[in-house]
């Protein structure tokens, strides 16, 4: 592993809220974490809403559109796919995304 591509222990799975989001700090960066227990998956996307210019994405509602999972901004309701951060309303804009895994009830995030 290199320093730019390492798995960091971010928080406990108990810090997450099922079918909803919370925010964690990855060094100085704010990361929105969404936990889907049915899929046993945690998605990590940027907390900063590029339309509303505020750190709010973890407080959006998650849902699906034709099978693709998204989070809707709580400010102006744009949809961002959890898989790759792309914005459904504006192809030029996307949120950063991180890979995650759950190991022993800990949420691990890949810094790459």
């Amino acid at each position: 592993m290199t320093t730019t591509n390492e798995w960091l222990d971010l928080c406990s799975i108990n810090d997450l809220v099922a079918n909803s989001g919370v925010c964690a700090l990855l060094k100085e960066e704010q990361v929105a974490l969404f936990y889907l227990p049915n899929e046993q998956k945690v998605f990590a996307v940027g907390q900063y809403d590029p339309f509303g210019n505020a750190n709010v994405m973890s407080r959006g509602i998650i849902g699906s559109k034709q099978g693709q999972l998204f989070v809707a901004s709580p400010l102006y309701k744009q949809h961002f796919l959890l898989e790759d951060g792309s914005c459904l309303e504006d192809a030029a804009i996307s949120l950063p995304v991180w890979k995650t895994q759950i190991i022993n009830e800990r949420v691990m995030i890949n810094t790459a």
Binding site: A18, S20, A24, L25, G63, Q66, G67
Partner: protein
């Protein structure tokens, strides 16, 4: 061109319709119109007369309005009666000495109640039921009475019995015939109706021939019957049929029928071609029509005749559907099977109290008539079969036998089977063809068609048929009528509400797995969250519900543009103690919050960070405050003035009522936010008429206004009912709110809901006041459940460690969001803009 002098004698429902049709024709300027209205008020709705005793006022019943009449250029003489007609000189004379020349004369003098000439019929407290003055006399007489008897068990008699019952009297119905509604019903239907009416506490005596009325021993009157029995009562109301008011015609030599009625031809002309007659005073083909719809048709025929059209009156269908004391009753065509060779099918469900009969032709192909008691959903379909001679299905009994499953057991009549000439709305004479024309001309919805054609705006009986027809036709034209809320649920909001209620579904997960697909979205999740809260009122941050909430509900505060929140404690009725004000002030100061007084008479504290919300709320709750639900699609505020306690003009305690109402409905979640206002007098300082529920004190009680709105599209509330006592007022509001919650669309305010409600305000009155849908008990108990289940969500949250974890800005750090930056302005904070953020020194937070 010289204008013609048109004189109209009578301003009842039919007289009014005549004027309305003339105005609608756009030809009013051809005439100088003079209207004689003998009663002290213009036309009013006699069909709903009994609602006068369940809350409606004379204003509510009014049909004719003087401003409107004047705008049409009519000369209206109220309280003036024509006493004679001189046909040679074409003049009418009145009781006030007026003499007026006519080119054309319209007699719409209506009818009077028939009082059987038994000895004692003219005693004091023997009354009739026809006009508002009659009602006032009944009310006055009933005030000293315990018992009331209605003589006559027909349609009008049973309406009158409802009126007496609403006045709180022990009520009896005495009928000469062996059953109730003998004209419309057969023995089976009449028996069931009798049983149902007796269940409501009205005693029914059939086959009674009153011989005389004399002084009673225990009551004011004693009625003696031919069979030797007697009945004592304080009040007697005669409602034993009507007789045409044909005196004027009789005295000026117009031809009248042997048993009364002004004889008219197909043009509605009397034996003098300059004189027309319409409504219950007119005799066509040996027949008097005692219903309003044929009268309306006659009115339209005369308008056509006057402006050169060729429309004729060719008889009318006497089928009726009505609700008598909450019981559905309908009768169609040859209900008694008098036609030669007619055959019956009967369905009699004694368990559920439903009786249905259809009469079919000898060949079994045609429907001749029908009777429905206890449930009349099939009326529209059966009527179309009967009126249009549509060929019956091979087993006609399937039309009335309940359908217990089986996908292809659909028996409803497809609207496509109707001919273009089929009358869909008989009140306003609208055919299927006219509805298609309306769609052809651009109508896109049922509402459009109604506005355009007036269909279904009379008795409303054709509503379902009209809706089916319009939707069918729109579909045929490829217009997609999609009412699904989103891709996850192929249902409307109301469908989901009903599913949740009926299946007692408590979570989004179980609703989605049973009735939906996918993962849900930001449309259906908050919607279902709101429905679950409206139905079961569970804590919204419980694990199964938390992911459904919009951010405002999740954090029980209102997110602002910079991601901070505003906080609004509840201030019921806007009444607040100095200590509470100080507590709010201290919190604002301590957390450096921007404070502003809201339009709903409370105080909003802005700029709270997520992690500050619990401590802010702890301090507010310790000071005795509770959550204000400013974040929810729920009851917001009940705005009030100080009322009679302080104000020199106040007539009742508006602030007290506002506080009571706000505490009653706080936390109630709905399709959208709900605001109330209560004013202590007609000066209306609380602006109640711009609220969803507005209440204004009067000398006699409270006036209730519904479905007002401020905001983008202001709307004044509609006056729903006047002079209510508090108990009734609260009952009506319970029902109203729960009915809105049940039927409203997602994010639909009550104002828009009302404008799209089929049947509008009248329909809402029928539901809430008359219990037209037999739903009120349910609505009230549902409301009681929500009220009982209320708890302050913030108080609960402060005692719930799991829920509190959610209020951390970062789950793995105590740091705060460094993107939140404030600037000082006018002595308070405001969010910094992007430029300011790059240069400004962040203001130090005190916590």
């Amino acid at each position: 061109m010289n204008k013609q002098n048109l004189v109209v004698v009578g301003n009842g429902m039919v007289g009014h319709q005549f004027l309305q049709s003339l105005a609608d024709s756009g030809q009013m300027e051809q005439f100088n119109v003079t209207v004689f209205c003998e009663e002290p008020r213009l036309a009013y709705d006699r069909v709903y007369l009994s609602s006068y005793f369940s809350g409606a006022t004379a204003d509510d019943l009014a049909m004719g309005h003087i401003e409107e009449y004047q705008s049409w250029g009519l000369n209206v003489l109220i309280g003036e009666a024509v006493i004679s007609i001189d046909r040679d000189t074409q003049r009418v004379h009145t009781n006030k000495g007026t003499t007026l020349f006519y080119d054309k004369l319209v007699l719409a003098t209506g009818s009077f109640p028939f009082v059987p000439p038994v000895p004692g019929h003219d005693r004091e407290h023997c009354l009739v039921y026809r006009t508002i003055e009659d009602l006032e006399a009944i009310k006055a007489s009933a005030s000293g009475a315990k018992t009331g008897v209605v003589v006559g068990g027909g349609l009008l008699g049973l309406e009158a019995a409802k009126a007496i019952k609403d006045l709180g009297l022990e009520t009896h119905v005495v009928e000469f015939a062996p059953r109730l509604m003998a004209v419309q019903l057969d023995e089976g239907g009449g028996d069931l109706l009798r049983r149902k009416i007796e269940d409501l506490g009205v005693q029914v005596h059939t086959g009674k021939n009153t011989q005389q009325i004399v002084d009673g021993d225990d009551a004011f009157h004693r009625m003696e019957f031919a069979d030797g029995e007697v009945l004592e009562t304080d009040l007697i109301l005669f409602s034993a049929g009507i007789r045409p008011r044909d005196n004027l015609a009789r005295e000026c030599g117009l031809e009248v029928g042997e048993r009364g009625g002004i004889v008219i031809n197909n043009n509605c002309q009397t034996s003098d071609e300059k004189i027309y007659s319409i409504g219950e005073c007119a005799l066509w083909n040996g027949r008097i029509y005692g219903l309003v719809a044929p009268g309306y048709t006659m009115a339209k025929v005369v308008v056509e005749q006057l402006i050169g059209g060729e429309k004729q009156f060719l008889g009318a269908d006497m089928s009726t559907k009505l609700k008598l004391m909450g019981i559905d009753v309908a009768s169609i065509g040859d209900a008694h099977g008098h036609t030669k060779g007619a055959l019956n099918y009967t369905y009699n469900d004694q368990v559920n109290g439903i009786y249905k009969k259809i009469v079919v032709s000898e060949t079994g192909n045609e429907l001749l008539g029908a009777i429905l008691v206890g449930e009349a959903n099939d009326y529209g379909t059966l009527l179309q079969y009967a009126l249009n001679g549509i060929k019956l299905p091979a087993n006609p009994e399937t039309l009335i036998v309940p359908n217990f499953g089986g996908d292809d057991a659909e028996t409803g009549l497809g609207v496509s089977a109707l001919p273009d000439t089929a009358h869909i709305c008989s009140c306003h004479d609208v055919t299927k063809g006219a509805i298609f024309c309306s769609i052809e001309a651009g109508a896109q919805t049922v509402c459009d068609v109604k506005a355009d054609t007036k269909a279904a705006s009379g008795c409303g009986g054709c509503n379902q048929l009209l809706t089916d027809l319009v939707n069918y036709e729109l579909e045929q034209r490829g217009v997609e009528v999609c009412t699904d809320i989103c891709e996850h649920f192929a249902y409307t909001r109301e469908d989901l509400y009903n599913i949740i209620r009926i299946e007692e579904i408590k979570t989004f997960e179980s609703l989605l797995s049973a009735h939906g697909q996918g993962h849900g979205c930001e449309i259906c999740k908050p919607l279902v969250g709101s429905l679950l809260a409206s139905c079961w009122n569970e804590y919204i941050l419980d694990t199964p519900h938390v992911g459904l909430q919009d951010t405002n509900d999740t954090f029980m505060a209102n997110m602002q543009k910079d991601g901070t929140y505003s906080v609004v404690p509840r201030v019921p009725g806007g009444e607040i103690t100095p200590d509470q004000l100080i507590a709010i002030g201290q919190v604002g100061k301590k957390y450096n919050l921007y404070t502003k007084v809201t339009g709903g008479q409370r105080i909003d504290l802005f700029g709270a960070r997520l992690e500050q919300l619990p401590t802010i709320w702890k301090e507010l709750i310790d000071a005795g405050m509770e959550t204000g639900h400013a974040y929810g699609k729920s009851l917001r505020t009940v705005k009030s003035c100080v009322g009679s306690t302080w104000c020199r003009y106040g007539v009742d305690d508006s602030a007290g009522l506002a506080i009571e109402l706000e505490n009653r409905y706080k936390g109630l979640r709905a399709p959208h936010k709900i605001k109330f206002g209560v004013s202590g007098c007609t000066r209306e300082c609380a602006e109640a008429q711009s609220k969803d529920v507005g209440i204004i004190a009067t000398e006699k009680g409270w006036n209730l206004y519904l479905c007002g709105n401020g905001g983008m599209k202001p709307r004044h509330g509609d006056l729903f009912v006047t002079d209510l006592d508090k108990e009734t007022l609260i009952k009506y509001i319970d029902r109203f709110l729960m009915f809105y919650i049940k039927t409203g669309k997602r994010l639909q305010r009550t104002s828009v809901w009302m404008e799209n409600l089929e049947g509008g305000l009248d329909y809402l009155r029928k539901v809430i006041i008359d219990d037209h849908l037999a739903l009120n008990e349910t609505l009230e108990s549902q409301m009681a459940h929500v009220i009982d289940a209320y708890e302050c969500e913030w108080k609960r949250t402060l005692n719930d460690e799991d829920a509190l974890k959610r209020f951390r800005t970062f789950v793995n750090s105590e740091k705060t969001d460094n993107n939140i930056v404030f600037i000082q302005e006018r002595g308070q904070i405001r969010p910094a803009n992007e430029v300011e953020k790059s240069v400004a020194e962040p203001i130090k937070m005190m916590v």
